[in-house]
């Protein structure tokens, strides 16, 4: 059973020891001492990268630790519990890094992965556009091939996080014939420091601000194409499923409930105790769902329905606790939990939108799981 495996406990202890190192604690303390929107966490990440805490499951030749996905999840849990903001980690390591490992050429892996693993460079995920959200097949950013090789990239990507700090972007663009919605999409690793890349902030109610990136005829080299030309869509759907373990959302739910619980205390009103009991069990169930998906991925199995179910459950739960906690915890609180709960309420609405809306997750579960249930019902 994965939830009490001894070897994970040992690695968890190791991670906690690394996180207790004075330079890491100093960076965390500095971060928590300056409340406000969009803090720059790169110095903290460099400390984490130096200690091998970012790319735990990447091969050592690409700067990773060569451990398995479940150890990476253990590290991810401990980072979150130590108060490390997770967006750069999720985008850089879990999404773009994973994509490069999955579909990148040897040259791309060798060039991009080691600095990402060290926390020296960071990555953005650039799928969404102002007119293209859940329906990614409708994206309009284009990459036009040049006769001399390479592409010219034009279009706008929007509503991504931390893109003011990142160095590369995983960008989906239309390259092929206009016939099919999905056939002509390709993926690129774009250097965000190139001429023609214009970034600006879009103010949001959440602590983490959105960003808007315009590509104005940006020149890409032949080596910037990730995976086959016009063949980005299957990669995209596969990667979307892999990134949807729900674990990051489950950890937010856990942290917020814990902050609320510490403030409420055991003498809380019976009605509040009832809510804490119900939400606490749901947090633990969300973690089981996330680890179930992780265990399957670790065994090279991908159940898209299960992943969507985990994302739905964990995202909805985190959003529910984010809305619930600040309305139940009243009165003066120490600065840190007060800031955590106040920010949770503002972050909550985005949790059922990011990484696939809850409606899309239900659509996936309904389309993939209900047939199996119907067959089971008929054999009973």
């Amino acid at each position: 059973m994965y939830w009490y495996a001894d070897e994970r406990r040992e690695y968890r202890r190791h991670v906690r020891t690394l996180l207790a190192a004075p330079p890491v604690r100093a960076e965390l303390a500095a971060l928590h001492a300056r409340p406000g929107t969009d803090p720059d966490v790169r110095a903290l990440y460099r400390e984490l990268g130096r200690r091998g805490l970012l790319a735990v499951n990447w091969p050592t030749r690409y700067g990773g630790e060569g451990r398995d996905l479940l150890d990476a999840a253990v590290a991810g849990e401990e980072l979150a519990r130590a108060g490390v903001p997770d967006t750069l980690y999720v985008n850089t390591v879990q999404i773009v890094g994973l994509f490069l490992l999955m579909a990148g050429s040897e040259q791309q892996k060798a060039m991009h992965l080691p600095p990402l693993a060290r926390g020296e460079r960071f990555a953005s995920v650039l799928y969404t556009e102002p007119g293209s959200g859940s329906d990614l097949g409708s994206l309009s950013t284009v990459a036009v091939p040049e006769a001399t090789g390479g592409w010219r990239l034009s279009g706008v990507k929007a509503y991504h996080l931390k893109s003011d700090l990142t160095d590369i972007g995983l960008c989906a663009a239309r390259t092929g014939p206009a016939g099919g919605r999905y056939d002509g999409i390709s993926l690129f690793v774009v250097d965000l420091h190139l001429p023609g890349v214009h970034r600006r902030r879009i103010a949001s109610i959440a602590d983490e601000q959105f960003h808007h990136i315009e590509f104005d005829d940006v020149r890409l080299g032949p080596g910037d194409l990730l995976g086959p030309e016009h063949g980005g869509w299957p990669l995209l759907t596969q990667a979307l499923a892999i990134e949807r373990t729900g674990l990051d959302y489950s950890l937010k739910a856990e942290a917020w409930l814990e902050a609320a619980g510490a403030a409420l205390g055991p003498d809380a009103d019976p009605a509040v105790c009832e809510e804490v009991g119900r939400l606490g069990a749901a947090v633990d169930a969300s973690r089981l769902l996330a680890w179930e998906v992780l265990s399957e991925l670790d065994a090279d199995r991908l159940d898209e329905s299960r992943a969507a179910a985990a994302k739905f459950y964990c995202g909805e739960l985190a959003a529910r606790i984010g809305r619930w906690a600040p309305t139940r915890v009243t009165g003066p609180l120490p600065a840190r939990p007060a800031a955590v709960l106040e920010a949770a309420y503002r972050e909550a609405p985005g949790l059922t939108i990011a990484a696939g809306t809850s409606e899309m997750m239900l659509e996936i579960v309904a389309s993939l799981a209900l047939d199996g249930l119907d067959q089971e019902a008929r054999t009973w």
Binding site: M1, W3, Y4, E258, G261, A262, L264, G265, P266, A268, P270, V272, C273, E274, E275, V276, G277, R278, G280, A281, A282, D284, A285, S286, L288, L289, E292, R306, A309, F312, Y313, E359, L362, E363, V365, A366, S367, A369, L370, L373, D374, E376, A377, R378, W380
Partner: protein, 360 residues
């Protein structure tokens, strides 16, 4: 406890039981049937033929010592088929008996005696017990019990000093009529007389926060039963929504229906993992009392949500004998609070969680 691979045992057991329970499940009567308990005898016979009563009983009592991993598999299959829960009461009674085997344990393991749980719904037992010099037990108070066949009854009682215990009332008494096998409870009155054959079994942790032992194990079995109820209700709803066509298409093809089914499916899967973890902890000798309280409350609420959706999808047919939907709806009422109401269990678990959070 015997050490074997839990997954293998559960899969084999469930497969074998599903075959054996198919026939009793087909006998569960619809509304208005002459004999509301028509499936009860056949269910018990099928379980005894499968050796189910002894699966979770200690080796020294003639059981197989397979632990909760086995008895929860049986419980889940029973709930899935919409069959009665007497098996769970027998397993709980075996748990409460002294470790050394005696005739009563032997009879329970052999399936010669069936038991019903009564009086565990509320935090305070409704019965008081005093013992006479000769060991005879006097009972005072009222007890709500299931209608139907006259089983022995395992029930909590308050003792003279204020502690609580469980007693086993022998089979007998009237069989109250009911409109359905899970129908409204019947009341038994006790006027302080000595009741022959009543056996005081052991102390019972009434009022304890997240108890372990027989009370905690009974909660996990009940949760597994309700997981089965939720799963059975969901499959019934999915099947009907696939077959039933309105406005020229299957009900399932309406997003308003598909999304609700998908949500319940996710809740059932989350519950399944939570129940499995509680079983793993209890069978592994790890702390599990808080998990037992949580999974029972979670299971009761999930079963209620699943059966409510299925009743809605099945429309008027769901209220009749044409479809099995009603059996889950009726079971939720009785079994959802059998060992405590979800609200009480959540408060118990929530208080414990808050105390731990403060301690950290």
């Amino acid at each position: 406890m015997v050490s074997v691979d839990a997954g293998t045992v559960r899969r084999s057991l469930r497969k074998a039981l599903r075959e054996r329970l198919r026939e009793p499940a087909s006998r569960v009567p619809g509304p208005g049937a002459a004999d509301p308990s028509a499936a009860t005898g056949a269910t018990w016979s099928a379980l005894v033929r499968s050796g189910a009563p002894g699966l979770d009983a200690p080796l020294e009592a003639g059981g197989l010592g397979l632990g909760l991993m086995a008895s929860t598999a049986v419980a889940e299959e029973l709930g899935h088929a919409g069959l009665d829960s007497r098996y769970l009461a027998v397993a709980a009674t075996i748990d409460t008996l002294p470790e050394q085997a005696d005739a009563l344990v032997g009879g329970l393991v052999a399936g010669e005696l069936t038991v019903t749980l009564a009086g565990f719904e509320t935090p305070e037992p409704g019965l008081k017990a005093t013992t006479a010099v000769d060991g005879a037990v006097r009972l005072t108070g009222e007890l709500a019990r299931d209608p139907g066949p006259t089983d022995a009854i395992l029930t909590p009682v308050v003792l003279a000093g204020g502690d609580a215990a469980v007693v086993l009332l022998p089979p007998g008494g009237e069989t109250p009529p009911a409109r359905d096998p899970s129908g409204a409870s019947a009341r038994m009155r006790f006027d302080g007389d000595v009741y022959p054959g009543v056996r005081l079994l052991r102390t019972w942790p009434i009022g304890a926060v997240c108890p372990e032992g027989p009370a905690g194990r009974a909660r996990i079995r009940q949760a597994a039963y309700l997981l089965g109820v939720a799963g059975g209700a969901l499959l019934t709803g999915v099947r009907y929504a696939t077959d039933r066509r309105q406005f020229g298409r299957a009900l399932r093809d309406f997003q308003s229906v598909a999304f609700r089914l998908a949500e319940v499916h996710i809740e059932v899967e989350a519950l399944r993992l939570a129940v499995n973890r509680a079983v793993y902890l209890a069978d592994g000798g790890l702390p599990y009392g808080h998990r037992a309280a949580e999974v029972l409350a979670q299971a009761a609420e999930t079963a209620a949500v699943a059966s409510r959706l299925t009743m809605q999808l099945c429309g008027a047919r769901g209220l009749t004998g044409e479809l099995p939907a009603h059996r889950y709806h009726l079971l939720v009422r009785r079994e959802g609070g059998r060992l405590g109401q979800p609200g009480h269990l959540w408060r118990e678990a929530g208080r414990r969680r808050l105390a731990l959070t403060q301690a950290v």
